[in-house]
């Protein structure tokens, strides 16, 4: 369960052990990365997720070779690369700004890496053509980047980074400059490219939805540390602490007293006096009667008749979201609670002031570490 415990015997595509990155010196020193341990398997779509300034881009730049780690080891395909420049690593980057060379055509951009590797011209041209086909840009080979739309530039950036057939492709928030519709399109496009090429993708984003929908595994970062690593469902359903719970999706935080503990679960006293079972994090043994923070997702409670459910609440407001409606409620002890209800035809949102009963899905309630 604890994300920080890693099996170091597994040799992955990328193995990072004990990597630290400190900018500046002395009192002005800034710890951008602290004790990063990470192993990414070959062919995996791995995502670094976190708010801006959490260190995810720095970690990507360390893997790419733009920054050198202050300490620790970084192996790509088993070979130590710490200290090597970016031009000596079998990884390529798709930059957030795309960084397409404005004075070169699309084809020249795509062929640049192979040219620098000293490949013969025929091979460069063949690969460039193949890459253009792969990203469906055959018709625009002779255009300049300035003549392309944002989405087209994005595809060229991808093709350029894929052309030298790197072992690992690094993507630094590549979709953040696109509008919503194009972003959705590119998400599936990226997924398709990854499956077709079989290259390991390391993807950096601050968009939790993007991370959950595309990734095989996600590492949630904050303040230079990895807080939790796992499959998207694990991260969503079993956040290890308040930060992860809050950052991924929407969550209700309830402060509740412990009624009784048994094994890895505890019984908490809900507002109104009823009890509910909640999962405990590894190794946590709360004292009976002490307050703990428990989380529950807004869609994991359902509306029932008053007094029929686990808790009662009154409606403060209802916000219509199209597919669902968010009900802002106040529990009987005054704590706020947000409930998400799927909309059905003809269903009217309850009036403010209405009293409701809430029924919690089994296993939905989890106690947090802090």
């Amino acid at each position: 369960m604890d994300a920080r415990v890693q099996d170091t015997t597994v040799k992955g595509e990328i193995d990072i052990t004990g990597v630290n990155k400190v900018f500046g010196q002395g009192a002005a020193a800034f710890h951008a990365l602290t004790d990063i341990d990470l192993s990414i398997a070959t062919g995996e779509f791995f995502t670094l997720l976190g708010p801006s300034g959490c260190g995810k881009t720095t970690l990507l730049r360390v893997i790419a070779g733009f920054e050198q780690p202050s300490s620790g080891s970084l192996r790509i395909n088993g070979a130590e690369v710490a200290g090597l420049g970016p031009n000596r690593r079998p990884v390529n980057t798709v930059f957030q700004s795309y960084a397409l060379f404005p004075h070169m055509t699309v084809a020249q951009n795509i062929g640049f890496g192979l040219k620098m590797l000293g490949k013969p011209r025929r091979e460069i041209e063949a690969t460039a053509a193949e890459m253009l086909r792969l990203v469906r840009m055959e018709a625009l080979a002779e255009r300049r980047p300035a003549e392309l739309s944002g989405g087209q530039q994005q595809r060229v950036a991808l093709a350029r980074a894929l052309a030298p057939r790197p072992r690992v492709l690094l993507l630094d928030e590549p979709l953040s400059a696109l509008d919503l519709k194009l972003r959705k399109e590119m998400q599936s496009e990226l997924k398709r490219l990854q499956t077709e090429t079989g290259i390991t993708f390391v993807f950096v984003t601050h968009d939790q939805e993007e991370a959950l929908t595309m990734s095989d595994r996600v590492a949630v970062m904050s303040a230079g540390r990895i807080l939790q690593m796992g499959r998207p469902t694990e991260i969503y359903n079993a956040p290890v602490n308040r930060f992860v719970a809050d950052f991924i999706g929407e969550t209700n935080f309830l402060v509740l007293p412990v009624a009784q503990t048994e094994g890895d679960a505890a019984h908490l006293t809900l507002p109104g006096g009823k009890r509910a079972q909640a999962l405990l994090p590894d190794g946590m043994l709360p004292v009976t009667g002490a307050d703990v923070t428990a989380v529950i997702r807004p869609e994991q409670a359902t509306i029932v008749e008053p007094d029929a459910g686990d808790m009662t609440a009154t409606v403060d407001s209802a916000v219509f979201f199209g597919t669902d409606t968010h009900l802002h409620l106040t529990l009987s002890d005054g704590q706020p609670f947000v409930l998400r209800r799927q909309n059905r035809p003809g269903q009217q949102p309850p009036e403010p002031g209405t009293a409701l009963g809430l029924s919690l899905a089994p296993g939905a309630l989890r106690v947090l570490e802090d």
């Binding site: 070779g65 733009f66 920054e67 420049g85 970016p86």
Partner: protein, 301 residues
């Protein structure tokens, strides 16, 4: 991100070294020699004798009686030149500000398409030869120049008005050649200005004059200060314009300095005068930088 060659800062100095060498040899270094020369004794035919002396600096402000060297009086001729230099430079700055502000405003309020053209029209004189522009002014105000010829043909005057070799000529010439230096920073400040604030001013019942005073001027103040310093500094250092349009009686500091290296043949005095000019210019720059810092500080709170 870089190969070892590019680690550290040494390579940056290495790249700057050739330019810095040329600048030190042909621009900054010689200034130090001027400072040294200002404390030496003058040679007979120009040049210096390597003997320490403060006579050069002494003569900047004072003069000795030829027959009684102990009789010291203020050097009225020099003081008159200093005063004229400062007074003409201040007047030039004022004229440029008076003409430059409406001009910059005019450019800044044109639609973006024509604005570039107007701006270009201001930039052209800025980059064309100062000597030629001075020559053009000379053509206009000479005794047999455009103005006098036209006025005499029209019968307004019988004999030409003497404009050349007067303070007026120098002032006109300097205002003419330095005007773009006032307009450009003023325009830059106006371009950054938030016109919604002007609208807000009118919305809150301010008259045009009140808006100008309370809303527009405070916003373009940095441009005013930059423009004033950009005009004042070359005006204080002016040499060509007063030489062509002025005469012996309307000499400015620059001409007085040059004189010491020509007919005057008193290099230490000339060096001391040059240092004095440098002090005035650096002083003006320091005042400017302080004003900028204060405004930046005020903006950051």
């Amino acid at each position: 991100m870089r190969a070892p060659l590019f680690r550290g800062h040494g390579w940056k100095w290495l790249l700057c070294a050739p330019a810095l060498t040329v600048l030190l040899l042909a621009a900054s270094g010689p200034l130090l020699i001027v400072l040294v020369y200002s404390f030496l004794s003058p040679g007979n035919m120009g040049g210096v004798v390597w003997e320490f002396s403060t006579e050069g600096w002494f003569r900047v402000f004072f003069r000795r009686d030829i027959f009684e060297p102990d009789l010291v009086t203020w050097n009225q001729a020099h003081l008159a030149v200093f005063w004229r230099s400062i007074w003409l430079s201040l007047q030039t700055t004022l004229i440029c500000a008076f003409l430059g502000f409406p001009t910059a405003w005019f450019i800044a309020t044109r639609p973006p398409s024509t604005r570039t053209v107007w701006l270009f029209l201001i930039t052209i004189p800025f980059w064309t030869n100062l000597l030629i522009r001075t020559f053009a002014i000379q053509e206009v105000i000479r005794n047999n120049g455009t103005i006098n010829t036209v006025l005499m043909r029209l019968g307004v005057i019988d004999s030409p008005i003497q404009m050349m070799f007067t303070d007026f000529a120098v002032l006109l010439g300097m205002a003419y050649v330095f005007l773009p230096l006032m307009v450009l920073p003023l325009y830059a400040a106006m371009e950054k200005m938030d016109f919604r604030l002007v609208e807000a001013g009118y919305d809150l019942y301010a008259s045009r004059l009140m808006v100008l005073w309370h809303v527009i001027l405070p916003q373009v103040k940095p441009g005013f200060i930059a423009g004033s310093i950009l005009v004042f500094i070359p005006a204080i250092g002016a040499y060509v314009t007063p030489r062509v349009l002025g005469g012996g009686r309307t000499m400015m500091l620059g001409n007085l300095i040059a004189l010491q290296f020509g007919q005057g043949r008193n290099w230490p005095l000339g060096a001391a005068l040059a240092m004095l000019m440098l002090v005035v210019v650096v002083g003006a720059l320091v005042l400017y930088l302080r004003a900028v810092n204060r405004m930046e500080g005020a903006r950051r709170g």
